[in-house]
Structures are given as C-alpha cells and as structure tokens.
C-alpha cells in the first residue's frame, strides 16, 4: 500500500477533449496528414513497382492537368461526386446516416432514362427536360422518404435501411434495363438517333450543363444550410433533439423533409449522369460515388466548398491513377489504394483536431 503513488491515478498520457482549435492549426494538421499519406503511398509505389515515386506523382498530375480536355473531364467527374456529396450534406448534418445515396442516384437515373425513352419522341425538348427532371427528383425523393418515415416513426436503424435500399434500386434498374434492351446484349446509348433528352453541347461539351448545375447547387446548398430556416432547424435537430423540441421544432417533420431533399438531389444527380454524361443507364451508373460521397461530406463537415476541394482531391487521384496505369502498364485499382490511404490519414487526423493528448504533470483544466 505504501508504494502507491499518484502516478497510478494519472496515466502517462491522457486524452482530453479540445475546447476548440485555431483555423490555422486545423489546416496544418490536415496538410500534415495528407503529406504523410502521400509519403506512405510513395513508399508503396516504390516497393511494389520499383518506380520513382516522384515521377509517378508527376504522371498523376498529368492525369488532370495535361490538357484542357482532361481538366474538363476532371471537372465532370468532380461535378458528379460533389453533387452526391451536396445531397448528403443536409442528412448528415441532421445526424441521419444516409448510406443509400448509391440507390437514390440509380433510381433517379432510371426514372430519367425511362422518361427519355418513352416520352422522348412525343414531347418537345424543353418539356421533355422538365419531365425528366421531375421524374428523377421524385424517384430519388421517394427513396429517401421511405427510410426516413420509418426512422421518424419507429426509430428504425437508418444506416442499415438505406444500405439495403441500394440493392433494391440496383435490382429494379437491372430489371428495367433488361426489359428496355430487349434482345440486345446491353442497353447502349439511349435515343441515339434523335438525341432526345440529351443535354445540348455547351462550350464543346455536353456535360458543361452538369458542371453548371452542380456549381449552382454548391452555392444553393451552402446557403440553404447556412441562411435558411430549414438549415437552422437541421442544425438544431442534429445537435440535440431535446433542444429542438424545446425550441418548438417538429423533429419528425424536419427529418422527413430533409431526407426528401437529400434523396431528391441524389435523384437529380442521376438525371445529370444520364442526360449529361452517359446517355445511358446501368446498375453501375452511380459507380460507388454514393459511398465515396459519404466520406466527402463527412470530412468537409458539410461545408459544400470544402466538399468541392475534397472531391477534387479524390477525382485527381482517380484520374492520376488511371494515368499511371496506362503509362506504366499497371492497373487503375491503384487509385483505390492511394485514395484509401489518404482517407485513413485524414480520418485519423480528425482525432488531433478534436482531442489533445495531455502528458502527465501538464496542467489541464478539470473536465466537467
């Protein structure tokens, strides 16, 4: 008993919540994390391929910046990913885990494709676009509404529900494209002859409209979350449902409304993919962006402009990796590895932003 000293009670390292952190330090921590990740990736590249990492990174850079066209492709991919991220932002800010963006995008794209094919010849172009837009938004909103309704009523776990809804959407898309393609082996480009429902070419590219729409959405969602009454309600509900009730906010209504908006924007993203990018639909049209966008939204803490930055980083990596792949006859999956490592480091760095490690003997404020 006599041996006992104060040290047992206070361990060498102790973790305490930070009260707040200056902006500069936050940026520094993230920058260090990305730098470390790049070093790890460089080591990986070197040991696996024996290539000089710096020249590999140089080639990666080419993937996005070599030519204006490549840059515009990067912007196109950025727009798609960012659009899903924007859709997820309000849901996540409300602490509603919408893992179902993949399905919401797909079902929106499917609705667009159906409208395009079956109304393409009967509606004039402006009306057709309105119909496609409406169909995609309604379909996506429905996919968001279903889990939200169950969550608001019976507190059904939304993470798992929305995850399952992805595969329901995939099946529906598989079924409908199967019907649409008839005997052909794949669906192919829709309305190839008439180009009905294709976005017009603007500045040389069909997807220019996608980029413009997402740009507008970036500002609009930022404003919605920051300046609108709805956005304020979302923030309060996400922070504390108790406070929301105290403030007279109808939590159930906010939850359902927000998920309808989230799903609708996902559906809109499906519309953009079909009309502006692919001109077709398949079960892989969303291409995993529904999942990647979750990471984008989370890391950006729901600020749409940060989201644009992170999306750009991810698209840059993806394009760079496919550039490496063709330059060194490797394969594109390197992008997933490099992305994964960077995500791990950024996720880990959050810890140093939210917590601080207190060494024994250091003066510290007693926790509440």
């Amino acid at each position: 008993m006599t041996k006992a000293t104060q040290t047992v009670h206070e361990p060498l390292l102790r973790i305490a919540k930070r009260d707040g952190i200056p902006f500069g330090k936050k940026v520094l921590i993230r920058a260090v994390a990305i730098l470390l990740a790049l070093v790890v990736d460089a080591l990986f590249i070197f040991f696996v391929t024996g290539l000089n990492p710096l020249s590999v990174y140089g080639v990666m850079y080419q993937g996005t910046f070599a030519t204006p066209v490549r840059f515009s492709w990067a912007l196109r991919d950025l727009a798609t990913l960012l659009c899903v991220g924007i859709a997820l932002a309000p849901a996540f800010k409300m602490r509603f885990w919408n893992i179902g963006a993949e399905g919401q995008v797909l079902i929106g794209g499917m609705a667009t494709a159906l409208t395009m094919v079956y109304l393409g010849s009967s509606l004039p172009a402006p009306l057709l676009f309105v119909a496609m837009f409406a169909a995609s938004v309604v379909a996506g909103a429905l996919w968001g509404f279903i889990p939200a309704w169950f969550k608001s009523r019976w507190n059904t776990n939304e993470t798992l529900f929305t995850l399952m809804m992805n595969y329901v959407a995939t099946s529906i898309v598989a079924c409908l494209t199967n019907i649409m393609r008839g005997q052909a082996s794949s669906l192919g480009t829709l309305n190839k002859a008439t180009k009905a429902g294709w976005f017009p070419v603007l500045f040389g590219q069909r997807y220019t409209i996608n980029i413009i729409v997402v740009l507008v959405l970036t500002f609009a969602m930022y404003a919605y979350l920051k300046y609108s009454k709805h956005g304020y309600e979302i923030a309060v509900v996400g922070e504390s449902e108790n406070t929301a009730r105290y403030a007279g906010i109808n939590v159930r209504r906010v939850m359902i409304r927000t998920m309808i908006i989230s799903g609708a924007i996902c559906g809109l993203c499906g519309f953009l993919i079909v009309a502006g990018k692919d001109q077709t639909i398949s079960t892989t049209s969303a291409g995993g962006r529904g999942f990647t966008a979750i990471i984008v939204a989370w890391l950006a803490k729901f600020n749409t402009f940060y989201m644009a930055l992170i999306s750009f980083l991810l698209v840059f990596l993806e394009r760079g990796a496919s550039e490496i792949a063709s330059a060194y006859s490797l394969n594109e999956y390197a992008a997933d590895i490099i992305t994964g490592v960077i995500l791990f480091f950024i996720l880990g760095s959050e810890f140093f932003i939210n917590y601080r490690v207190v060494r024994r003997g250091e003066t510290h404020k007693e926790g509440k």
């Binding site: 304020y232 406070t243 906010i249 109808n250 007693e366």
Partner: protein
C-alpha cells in the same frame, strides 16, 4: 489483526473540483453493525464523499482507513476488494442481461465461470436477506426497485460488508422503501456497516442508528438518532439563516396569469412524478418552488412549457393580459403552438446546453432558437439576433471571444447569461427558471436576481425553481414546496422560516397528520 469498532475512518479528507471544494477537511467514522445516515442539502458534498470511499474519485488530501488499515482506493475494484460496495443512483446494469448475467459481469478471473454457481450463490444471498428477485429475469423487464435490489445483490455477491446507498428511496414507493429498510436492518444484524444518503428526515429517524450531517462540503457533526428530532436535524442541515441582502420589492397589483389544476404527469417508466399539483401564479410576483431535486420540479416547468404529456384531468390555464376574463388552455399545446397563441412564455431549463441552447452554435445563432421562424421569409434573419447578442453581451458582461464562438466553449456563468438574456429579451409574460444560479459565482448570481426582480416589477409572473433556501426565502414572494411530486404547502416568503421549508421539503405534511 485487531478488530476495532470502525469499518471506515476518514481523516481530513478534502476534494476539490475546479477550485471549488466539494469536501473540506472531513473526518468521520462508520462502525460495523450500524446504519449511518448521511444527511445534507443538494450540493453539500455527500455523494462526492462517498464516491471517494467507493473508488470513483481519489481524495486530494487526507486518508481513508478501512478496518483500521490505511487504504488506497483507486478504483471501484479496489473498493470491492476491501469489501466496500456502493449502490449509485444511476444503476450500472446491462438491460438485455438477466440478473445472473449482470452479477457475473466482471467477476475475477480466478473464479471458474459457471452461471449456475453464480445463480446458486446469488439465490442464497436472496434467501438470507429475503430479497424477492427473479434471478433469470431480464433487467429491462424489472421495476426500478427490482433493479436496485439487483444492485444490492451484486455488491453483496462480491462479499461487500460495507454498503453505501446513494438516495435509494428516491425512486421507491413507500411499500418498497419499507422492504428496503427491512433488508438494511437484516444487514445490520449481520454485522455489516450500512451508509444511506438521504434527504428524507422521517426515513433518517426510522432507519438509522446515527446521523452524520454535511453542509456546504463541511462536516457539521453527528448525532445519535434516538436523540434527534426532525427539527434538530433540519437545523443542523440548513444551518443558521444567512443574510444575502437580495432586494425584494413588494408585488404591485398582482394579476392571476396561470392557474394549474390537478396536474399529473407520469414519466417514461410509468412512475407518477407530478401528483395532482394545483396552484396559481400571479404577474408581478416571484413564486419560488422549493424541493429536493427530482421531486417534480423539472416536469412541472416542462408541462407548462408544453414539453410533457400530462395525464387526463390535468389543467393549465393562462390568463392573457388585458383579457383576464378569457382564459386560454395551454394543455395539449406544443411549445410552438403556445408561442403562436401569443403566450410569451420564457423558460430557462435546468439543462442549459442540452435543452436551452445549442452548444455548437454561437451567441447570435442561439438568440434565434425560439424566434427564427418568425416572418414569412424562408431565410433566417440574423440581423436582429446579432444586435440582441451584442446587447446581451454588453449588458450582462458575457465573456466570449466572438459572437459566433460556440457557446459550449464559454464558462458556465456566461452560458447562463446567454440563456437568461435571451429568455428575458422575449419580453415574457410568464418566466420560468430552473436552478438559474446553479454553479454560478456570487456576482453572476446577483445579476440574475436583479434581472428577475426587474421582470417582476414589469408585471411578469416569475416561477423560480431553486435549491438554496436562503435565496428562496429572500427573493420569492411565495414559496411552493414540492415533495414527492405533490404540493406540500405554499408559504409566504416573508414569514416562512428555513426550518419550515426544509421540513416540508423532506416530509409530506399530510402524512404527518395521519401518523
């Protein structure tokens, strides 16, 4: 080892939290084979003291002797190894486990793991002390009293012979309390040392052999229960009246604003937390609400604010200014509906950051928590809230680096100023505050009293839920005492004595009449 009479001896124990002494130089003893009551007001440091014996906290200064040996208790495990078990107010049980599984949780590795043996041993304990406990029942199916019994069995199972019960009767019905007392007497007969933390004087007198009293973190002394009366204990507990010099203007033509009738509220567990509460509140006066915490104060205010679902037969009526003859029913209205009906009801809840404010938002955004929806624009207007925030910051001296700094980063006093400031700025007709000065320093507390008095002079009906009797007696015009969810008398703040209020807080007057 020479067995002396003391199971536990504390010597000069001091514990400080953030500069405030929760326990100051406390020396006391607990004997084997006795039941000791630890008595004191809220915040007098009873639980902190017992937590040090149970290994939750470690004393800053002083020594703890267990069975006359200096003990170093650093964790609940250490405490159990010394035979000390504490039953906390918040049960530490796993809901989906059976009683046996909960007992088996964290048993030392040296013992072979066999749930049947655990059950047999637990059953033997139950039989010995006559516990009615189904050992195969899941915890979530148990009543509060059964959960408490399980906690006691858990502690006894580990061989504890020093038991600490932290306000065990707060959640029990009178019958259940009687049963618990029988158990405690059995344990005493078994030679165990039993400590019970409680506020209820009649229980102290009924169950304990000795009473130790704490006041504001200090040890006042102990008395043999047989020599004590409720009056003498109350006096020791509340101490002499302290002159606070709080202003108390005379109410000017008080008008009835609220009429509460037969208000009954059940909590989520189905327990009656408010029982037929009836009273009126008047504009231009401060109605104090006294009571040991957890006796229905929170539910009372929340029910008026539209945040509870009172039982049928309850009634809350509001009398609008200038139209006192046209009362308005508040019952069944949501907070939003109440607000929209023009009832300016301000409410400073007990949980400041978990209910009254949004911790992650700055002052400006918090200003509009209740008013953001005004107007038809889809956008929020931050101009007025920002002006208001600036005003409150200056007038109340809120210390914050910026109006947009998350309020959760401010100190407790500043958080409360933000909250009170906002609620007063809404020009209330009725103002309700719960523990408005809890945790605040003297200066801030006086600022709050001043603000409340200003509201009173404006004709606002103020409901002040408080825990410091001196403040209640010197600030309020009338004092309603809640005890066990019932109104236990409404006293005149100018003539009532501390003892009178203290007695009513701990003891239902009606019960006295029956006895």
């Amino acid at each position: 080892m020479a067995q002396t009479q003391y199971a536990i001896r504390l010597e000069h124990v001091t514990k400080t939290f953030g500069g405030v002494a929760a326990n100051q130089d406390i020396s006391m003893q607990i004997r084997r084979g006795e039941i000791l009551s630890l008595l004191g007001e809220n915040g007098s440091g009873k639980t902190t003291l017992m937590n040090m014996i149970a290994g939750i906290y470690y004393p800053d200064e002083g020594q703890i002797y267990v069975n006359d040996e200096l003990a170093d208790i650093r964790s609940p495990r250490d405490a159990l190894a010394l035979g000390i078990g504490m039953i906390h107010q918040h049960f530490k049980l796993v809901d989906v486990f059976t009683a046996v599984e909960n007992i088996a949780l964290g048993l030392p590795k040296s013992e072979r793991f066999d749930l049947r043996r655990v059950r047999d041993k637990a059953r033997a304990i139950c039989e010995k002390y006559q516990f009615a406990l189904d050992l195969d029942q899941k915890v979530y199916e148990m009543s509060v009293s059964q959960k408490q019994t399980l906690e006691i069995v858990k502690v006894l199972f580990r061989g504890a012979d020093i038991l600490i019960l932290d306000e065990p009767t707060a959640v029990l019905t009178p019958q259940e309390t009687e049963r618990l007392f029988d158990v405690m007497r059995n344990m005493r007969a078994d030679g165990k040392a039993v400590i019970i933390i409680t506020h209820k004087l009649h229980e102290v007198l009924e169950i304990s052999d000795r009473v130790a009293i704490l006041r504001r973190g200090c040890y006042v002394g102990d008395v043999v229960t047989a020599d004590a009366t409720e009056a003498s204990l109350t006096e020791m507990m509340v101490g002499k009246k302290v002159e606070l010099d709080i202003e108390r203007p005379e109410p000017k033509d008080p008008v009835r604003r609220l009429a509460i009738k037969d208000l009954t509220v059940y909590n989520a567990e189905g327990l009656k937390v408010l029982d037929d509460v009836s009273f009126d509140a008047y504009g231009g006066e401060i109605l104090g609400i006294a009571g040991i915490s957890g006796n229905g104060q929170k539910e009372l205010l929340e029910a008026i604010a539209g945040l509870q679902h009172p039982a049928p037969g309850s009634d809350i009526q509001f009398f609008p200014p200038e139209q006192e003859d046209k009362p308005m029913e508040l019952l069944g209205k949501s907070p939003r509906a109440i607000n929209e009906a023009g009832v300016h009801l301000s409410f400073v809840p007990e949980d400041r950051l978990g209910m009254g404010l949004v911790g992650s938002m700055g002052m400006t955004d918090n200003m509009m928590l209740k008013s953001y929806d005004a107007g038809s624009s889809p956008l929020v207007d931050r101009k007025a809230p920002q002006e208001l925030a600036k005003e409150i910051k200056e007038e109340l001296g809120v210390v914050t680096p910026d109006l947009n700094t998350p309020v959760s980063r401010l100190s407790g006093g500043n958080v409360q100023k933000v909250l009170v400031g906002r609620e007063l700025a809404a020009s209330p007709i009725v103002l309700m505050t719960a523990y408005a000065v809890r945790g605040l320093d003297i200066n801030t507390s006086y600022t709050i009293y001043r603000l409340l008095n200003e509201q009173k002079k404006k004709g606002v009906a103020v409901l002040y839920v408080g825990e410091d009797l001196d403040v209640l007696l010197q600030l309020c015009d009338r004092i309603l005492v809640l005890c066990g969810g019932r109104v236990n008398g409404i006293l005149d703040g100018r003539t009532a004595t501390k003892e009178e209020v203290g007695l009513r807080m701990t003891n239902l007057v009606k019960e006295d009449a029956e006895q």
